[in-house]
C-alpha cells in the first residue's frame, strides 16, 4: 500500500513444484504475502494446499521453483535450508503440544539462547497476548481444545519467527469456539505484525482471517486476491463454484448488449465478446434473486428455510429449473404457493460453458 514497499518479511513463492514420487501435487505455484499480511490458502481437501505449506516449512522438498522470506532464499535450484534453520513458526491441525512439558516449557521450547529471566518474561507476555495468563505450570492435557490451540500459537510465536504458517488450525474445534477464536487470532497476528499463511477449507474462516485469499484447486492457484474480490469477482468457474452459495442460470446471447434468461432479458452494461446465440451461464448468488409480487416471473415454492432475518426459498420455474430466492422474514409463504421473483444483480458474471474463465461486468438491471 505504501509507495516504497519494504519487503521486510514478505513471503515469496515462485514457480514452485512439489511431487510425491513422480506425481506433482503442487504445479508451478507463485504467491506473495506481503510483510505483516495474513494470507489464506483455501481449497477442497487434496488440492495441494497443505503440501504447499509444508514445502514452505521445509517439511517437503520442492522439485522446482523458489521460496524466499524477505531477501533470504529458503530454497531454489541450488540451496535448501533445512526446516530447523528456516525460522518459520508453524501451528498444526492436531496442535502437537509436547505432552511431557508444561505450558511454559512448551512456549519456551524455541527460546534456547535466552536467559531464564528473558524466557519467563516472553512466556508471560505471550500468555497475556493469547488471553490465558497464569497457566504456566499446567500440562497440555489439562487444557481445552481452544486453550491448547492458543498455547500452540504462543509457542510458534515465541522465537519471533519471520513468518507463521498454520495448517487447518481450527478444524478440530467446534463452531462456537471458532467464532471467537478466529477473530482473536487475527487480532493477535495483526498486533504482532507477523506475516502469516493459513491453510483452510472453510471459506468463512478464510474471509474472517485473511487480507488475501488464494484459492487452490488440483495443485494450482486459481485466483489470489482480497476476500471481497474473490467473492464478487471470481476469476474462474471453479472459484465461482467453490466460494459462496452460487449456481448457474443458463442464458442465450441475443446480441452484444443483451442476453435472454428464464427470468427475462438482461441488458448488459458493456458489450460481450460472445457471438449471438452462444449458450452462456450467469452466476447467481441467493441474494441475487428477490421475492417481488409485481414481477412477471413466477415460481412455485418447493422448499423453504427460515434464517431468522429472512427466508430462503427454493422456487421452481415452469420449465422445471429451480432457483434460490431471498425474501424478508415477513413474507411467510407455504410450500406449493406461487410467488413472483425477479433478478437483482449489481454485477454480472458470464461463463461460456466450454471455457473456464469468465466475463465480469458491473451495474446491471433486469
Amino acid at each position: 500500500m505504501s509507495l516504497t514497499p519494504s519487503k521486510g518479511n514478505s513471503l515469496q513463492v515462485r514457480d514452485l513444484e512439489v511431487r510425491y514420487g513422480s506425481q506433482p501435487v503442487v504445479h508451478s505455484v507463485s504467491l506473495t504475502i506481503d510483510h505483516a499480511q495474513i494470507g489464506c490458502l483455501l481449497g477442497p481437501s487434496g488440492c495441494g494446499k497443505s503440501t504447499l505449506l509444508r514445502a514452505i516449512a521445509g517439511l517437503e522438498l520442492a522439485a522446482r521453483g523458489e521460496i524466499k522470506l524477505g531477501d533470504r532464499v529458503l530454497t531454489d535450484g541450488r540451496t535448501n535450508v533445512v526446516t530447523e534453520d528456516r525460522h518459520i513458526g508453524m501451528v498444526f491441525q492436531d496442535i502437537a503440544l509436547f505432552p511431557h512439558l508444561t505450558v511454559s516449557q512448551n512456549i519456551a521450547f524455541g527460546l534456547k539462547k535466552h536467559s531464564r529471566e528473558a524466557k519467563r518474561e516472553r512466556v508471560s507476555y505471550l500468555l497475556d497476548l493469547v488471553g490465558l495468563p497464569g497457566i504456566e505450570e499446567r500440562y497440555p492435557n489439562s487444557l481445552s481444545g481452544g486453550q491448547q490451540q492458543r498455547i500452540a500459537l504462543a509457542r510458534a510465536l515465541a522465537p519471533k519467527p519471520k513468518t507463521l504458517l498454520m495448517d487447518e488450525p481450527f478444524s478440530g474445534l467446534d463452531a462456537t469456539l471458532k467464532e471467537t477464536l478466529v477473530p482473536d487470532i487475527r487480532a493477535i497476528l495483526v498486533k504482532e505484525q507477523i506475516t502469516a499463511l493459513v491453510v483452510t477449507h472453510d471459506q468463512m474462516e478464510a474471509f474472517a482471517l485473511a487480507d488475501k485469499v488464494a484459492v487452490m484447486n488440483q495443485g494450482v492457484i486459481e485466483q489470489s486476491d482480497s476476500p471481497y474480490v474473490i467473492y464478487h469477482q471470481p476469476a474462474t468457474r471453479f472459484v465461482a463454484d467453490f466460494i459462496g452459495q452460487g449456481y448457474f442460470l443458463p442464458a442465450t446471447v441475443l446480441n452484444s448488449n443483451q442476453i435472454n434468461t428464464d427470468l427475462g432479458v438482461l441488458d448488459l452494461p458493456e458489450p460481450t465478446d460472445y457471438a449471438t446465440d452462444t449458450q452462456v451461464d450467469v452466476l447467481l448468488r441467493p441474494d441475487d434473486v428477490l421475492h417481488n409480487d409485481d414481477s412477471n416471473y413466477q415460481g412455485m415454492i418447493v422448499g423453504k428455510q427460515f434464517k431468522g432475518t429472512y427466508f430462503q426459498y427454493q422456487v421452481q420455474l415452469s420449465n422445471g429449473r429451480s432457483l434460490m430466492c431471498i425474501a424478508s422474514s415477513h413474507h411467510n409463504h407455504s410450500i406449493g404457493q406461487l410467488i413472483g421473483i425477479r433478478l437483482d444483480l449489481d454485477h454480472i458474471m458470464l461463463f461460456n460453458p466450454e471455457s473456464v474463465t469468465l466475463q465480469w461486468m458491473q451495474g446491471v438491471r433486469a
Binding site: 522438498l61 535448501n80 533445512v82 530447523e84 498444526f92 492436531d94 509436547f98 509457542r155 510458534a156 519467527p161
Partner: protein, 546 residues
C-alpha cells in the same frame, strides 16, 4: 547451514534396511519350519501316521477342547459378574482375577501334582480319616488329560476374562433395558443379545488361550499326555530325528495358523460390534444377598485355585526345602536374570529399530518382514527352537567354514548350542511383545510434534533426546519388563537350545520336578511366579487408569 534434505533421506534408508534385515533374520525359523510343511517326505509322514500321529492329534484336540470349555466357563462368567453386577469386594476381585496370569502352566501343574497325587497331603488325609488304603477309594488321577485341562484352564482363563470384560464394559446398558422392555428376562437377554454381541471378543480371548495351550510343553509332559509338543521333543531327543520333528512342528504350525486366522477374524469384528458412539454407562445390577454371596464365591474360586492355593503350596515347600542353601540355586537365578535381561534388551532394541523404520518409511517389504517376525509370539517355543536349531546348524556348516578359510582361524561351532542361539530364539518369540509396546508408545508422538520441534530449531538428534526419550521412557521400560518376565518363564525353547550345563530357573524347576523332587523345585518355581506378578501389576495399573 544449508544441508540438503536429500542427505537425510539417504540416512533413513539405512535404518529401514537394518530393520528389514533383522526382521527377515527373525522370520527365518518360522519360514524354515513352514517350508517343511511343503517338502515331500511321504515316508516320514507314513511312519508317523502308523506310530504316534493319531495319538498326538487326538490328545492335542481333546486338550484344546477341554481347555476351551474351561476358560469359557471361568472367563465369561467372571467377566459378566465383575462388569455388570454390584456385590461386595467387586473391584478387588476384578483385579485379583488376573493373578493366575502370573502362574505358568507347568508350575501350577507341579503344585497340584504334589497336592493331589497318592503321597500328597489330600489323599494322605483321606486315608488317615477313613482308614482306607490305596485302591479302596476313588480319587481322580491328576496325571491325566483331565488334570491337564483343569490346571491349564485355571491359568489361561484370564485371556477370555480380559477381552470379554472389555467388551461387556463397552456395551451400553440400555441394550439390556431395551430387551427387558420387549419382554425378555435378564437371563434370556444375556443369551440372545449380550453374548452374541460380545462373541468376537470372546473368540479372540479364546484363541489366545488356545495358542498358549498348543505352546505348552511343561504341563503335558509332566502329566504324561502325548500332544504335538511332547511328540516333537520325543522325536527330537529320543530318536534324534530332526526331519520328523520338523514335520511335526510344521503340522503344529498349521494348527497355530488356524488360531491366528480365527483371532484376526474375530478382532476385525470386535470393532464392528462395539458401539463406541454410545456412552457406556456404569450401571450395575444390585444383587440380593444370597446372589451376591454366590457371585463373590464365583469370582474368588478361580483366584483361589488358579493362584492362591498353588502359590501357597510353593511357598510352603520352599520354606522347607534345602534348595536355598545350595550355591547352585543362586548361581542359576543369576544366570536366569542375566539371560532374561539380555534377551529383553535385544528385543526392545530391535523393536525400537523396527518401529522407527516403520514410522519413517512406508516400504511394503519392511511391513511384510516385520509382520512375519511378529508371528513368533503366537508360535510355541518348541517350533521356534527347532527352526533355530536347523537354521544355525546350516550357518555353522556353510558359513563358518567360509570365514575359517578366509581368516584361517578355527571357530568351531559359532552358533549352535551357544547363548547366541538362545537369545535369538527368545527375540523371535517375544519381539511382538516389545514391538507392540514401543509402537503404541511411538504412535502417541504424532509426526507434527517432530515437525514442531524442528520448526523451533531442533536437530533430529536433539528431538530424540528432548522429546522422544522422555515420552517413550515408560513404554520402553514396560516392554523390557514384560519380555524379561516372559523369557524367565520360557521352558521348551530353553530346554532345546541352552548351552551344555547352562541352567535357568525354569529348567531347574522342570528338572527337579521331573525327578519327583517337587519340594526342591518349589523355590525356583516360586521365584518365577513372583517375577511373573510384575506384568500383572502393570496390566492392573493400565486397567484402573482407563
Amino acid at each position: 547451514m544449508a544441508i540438503s534434505t536429500l542427505q537425510r533421506n539417504k540416512r533413513r534408508n539405512y535404518l529401514g534396511w537394518l530393520a528389514i534385515l533383522s526382521a527377515l533374520a527373525l522370520s527365518a525359523p518360522v519360514l524354515i519350519i513352514a517350508s517343511y510343511g511343503f517338502t515331500n517326505a511321504a515316508d516320514v509322514w507314513l511312519h508317523l501316521w502308523h506310530t504316534v500321529l493319531i495319538d498326538y492329534v487326538r490328545d492335542s484336540l481333546l486338550l484344546m477342547l477341554g481347555v476351551a470349555i474351561g476358560v469359557l466357563l471361568l472367563g465369561v462368567s467372571t467377566a459378566w459378574l465383575t462388569s455388570r453386577c454390584e456385590f461386595p469386594f467387586r473391584r478387588v476381585l476384578s483385579l485379583l482375577l488376573l493373578l493366575p496370569m502370573a502362574m505358568p502352566g507347568y508350575i501350577i501343574a507341579y503344585s497340584y501334582s504334589g497336592l493331589l497325587d497318592f503321597a500328597g497331603p489330600v489323599q494322605t488325609w483321606i486315608r488317615n480319616v477313613s482308614g482306607l488304603r490305596y485302591g479302596q477309594y476313588w480319587f481322580p488321577e491328576i496325571h491325566s488329560l483331565g488334570g491337564a485341562i483343569v490346571v491349564l484352564s485355571l491359568v489361561l482363563y484370564p485371556y477370555v476374562y480380559l477381552m470379554t470384560r472389555a467388551a461387556f464394559l463397552s456395551q451400553s446398558t440400555s441394550l439390556m433395558d431395551v430387551s427387558r422392555s420387549l419382554g425378555r428376562t435378564p437371563l434370556n437377554a444375556f443369551f440372545t443379545v449380550i453374548l452374541p454381541m460380545s462373541r468376537p471378543a470372546i473368540v479372540a480371548g479364546l484363541s489366545l488361550a488356545l495358542m498358549e495351550t498348543l505352546a505348552d510343553y511343561g504341563t503335558v509332559q509332566f502329566y504324561g499326555i502325548s500332544t504335538f509338543t511332547t511328540g516333537i521333543f520325543r522325536t527330537f531327543y529320543g530318536f534324534g530325528d530332526v526331519a520328523a520333528a520338523s514335520q511335526l512342528a510344521a503340522m503344529l504350525l498349521g494348527f497355530v495358523f488356524l488360531l491366528i486366522a480365527l483371532e484376526k477374524y474375530s478382532r476385525r469384528r470386535v470393532g464392528y460390534f462395539s458401539s463406541s458412539e454410545q456412552a457406556s454407562s456404569d450401571y450395575r445390577a444390585r444383587l440380593s444377598l444370597p446372589l451376591a454371596a454366590v457371585s463373590v464365591l464365583c469370582c474368588l474360586l478361580p483366584v483361589l485355585f488358579g493362584f492362591l492355593l498353588p502359590a501357597g503350596v510353593l511357598l510352603y515347600w520352599s520354606l522347607s526345602s534345602n534348595e536355598w542353601h545350595s550355591a547352585d540355586f543362586f548361581h542359576i537365578a543369576g544366570h536366569s536374570l542375566m539371560l532374561a535381561a539380555l534377551a529383553a534388551f535385544v528385543a526392545v532394541l530391535l523393536a525400537l529399530v523396527m518401529a522407527y523404520a516403520i514410522r519413517q518409511g512406508k516400504g511394503r517389504l519392511l511391513r511384510f518382514s516385520v509382520q512375519t517376525a511378529s508371528l513368533g509370539y503366537a508360535l510355541p517355543g518348541t517350533i521356534i527352537a527347532i527352526g533355530v536349531v536347523i537354521g544355525f546348524a546350516w550357518l555353522d556348516h556353510h558359513l563358518v567354514p567360509v570365514f575359517e578359510s578366509t581368516f584361517n582361524i578355527q571357530f568351531g561351532l559359532l552358533f549352535s548350542g551357544t547363548l547366541v542361539a538362545l537369545v535369538f530364539a527368545y527375540t523371535v518369540r517375544f519381539l511382538a511383545v516389545s514391538l507392540g509396546a514401543v509402537q503404541s508408545g511411538l504412535s502417541a508422538i504424532k509426526p507434527s510434534v517432530d515437525y514442531s520441534a524442528r520448526l523451533l530449531g531442533r536437530r533430529p538428534v536433539q528431538i530424540l533426546r528432548e522429546i522422544h526419550l522422555p515420552l517413550l521412557r515408560s513404554t520402553v521400560l514396560t516392554a523390557f519388563l514384560i519380555v524379561f518376565v516372559d523369557v524367565l518363564k520360557e521352558l521348551p525353547a530353553t530346554l532345546i537350545l541352552r548351552p551344555f550345563n547352562f541352567n535357568t530357573l525354569a529348567v531347574r524347576a522342570y528338572e527337579l520336578a521331573s525327578d519327583e523332587r517337587l519340594m526342591d523345585a518349589a523355590p525356583a518355581a516360586l521365584m518365577i511366579v513372583l517375577v511373573g506378578l510384575i506384568p500383572v501389576f502393570l496390566l492392573n495399573r493400565s486397567i484402573t487408569k482407563s
